[in-house]
Symmetry: C2
Subunit: 157 residues, 2 copies
Amino acid sequence: MDKILDIDNIDLKIISLLNEDAKTPYTEIAKKVFVSSGTVHVRMKKLEDMGIVKSATLNIDFSKLGYDISAFLGIYLEKSSLYDTVIERLKEIAEVVSAYYTTGNYSIFAKIICRDTNHLRLVLDKIQKVDGIDRTETLIVLEESINRPIQFFDKEK
Amino acid sequence: MDKILDIDNIDLKIISLLNEDAKTPYTEIAKKVFVSSGTVHVRMKKLEDMGIVKSATLNIDFSKLGYDISAFLGIYLEKSSLYDTVIERLKEIAEVVSAYYTTGNYSIFAKIICRDTNHLRLVLDKIQKVDGIDRTETLIVLEESINRPIQFFDKEK
DNA sequence: CAATTAAATTAGATTTAATCTAAATAGTGT
DNA sequence: ACACTATTTAGATTAAATCTAATTTAATTG
């Protein structure tokens, strides 16, 4: 009775394999899943049409590109009703890569990526100047120990 | 004097374009960057060899796959020297998608993705039972308002 | 500053994959 | 069992990836 029922193990297997390497040819996926490559196409088209697979992106080592510091920000708003307008302001700041509405003390929980400590300071300044933001707490990332996709295994029938 | 100097604007442009859609054919990238597709190949090979481009992954809407709840966890350890061993335990828990060593009060900051509140409870239980973990704080994600790659523009020469 | 060498880029040929179509197969409900 | 629908498949066509050799560009040195 759930839209999830439109998705079977073949779909999940295809997603899992492509999620490890999105550039794997469909012909190769087809062999591993024991269907024809046409079926892989049809299934992927379905998954894209359903909005389950939204896009494919590169996994980039930003530190090697000179973006050496990332940080999580706990943002406190003056009034929680300001959430939407503050999010719009944050969208305009290129260094903000994600922002969430979460339970807990913070009004907004965000992540930013910066080149160095100086750049970080500039970005924090910019964020603290946004109207409606009261104050922020910064968790600077010193090490990324895990970063991987979910793995869903074959759920037995 | 920096490894970053091996990377020019052509590389950055290629990365930017492919980061929006990793499945864009190199021939199309080539046109937009005004080089031949062979050059795009060579550059991407270089970027992969340098470890800057690590892989390509799908951007999946997990909620549509039945994974409806994600949460950030602030984890307190009994002793901070236990970091490495606890990370190894967390790696064994499939629902843990990322974990960081950060400044601030938490010893480990992690993210998990679960199907529903019941599944979340199971996973939190499992995590709280890991040897060395003192207690955890949970920030449940109620809305993802921003989630995007960094955009680096052409840094003028 | 010309000549030599090295590096990067390119066009073109070949291999491989994506995509499309029509036929075959498997499911569904009556 | 029959008709209807949806899914899968093989095969053909189109398009892209990959490789190679040649050219162009840039860098280096006498």
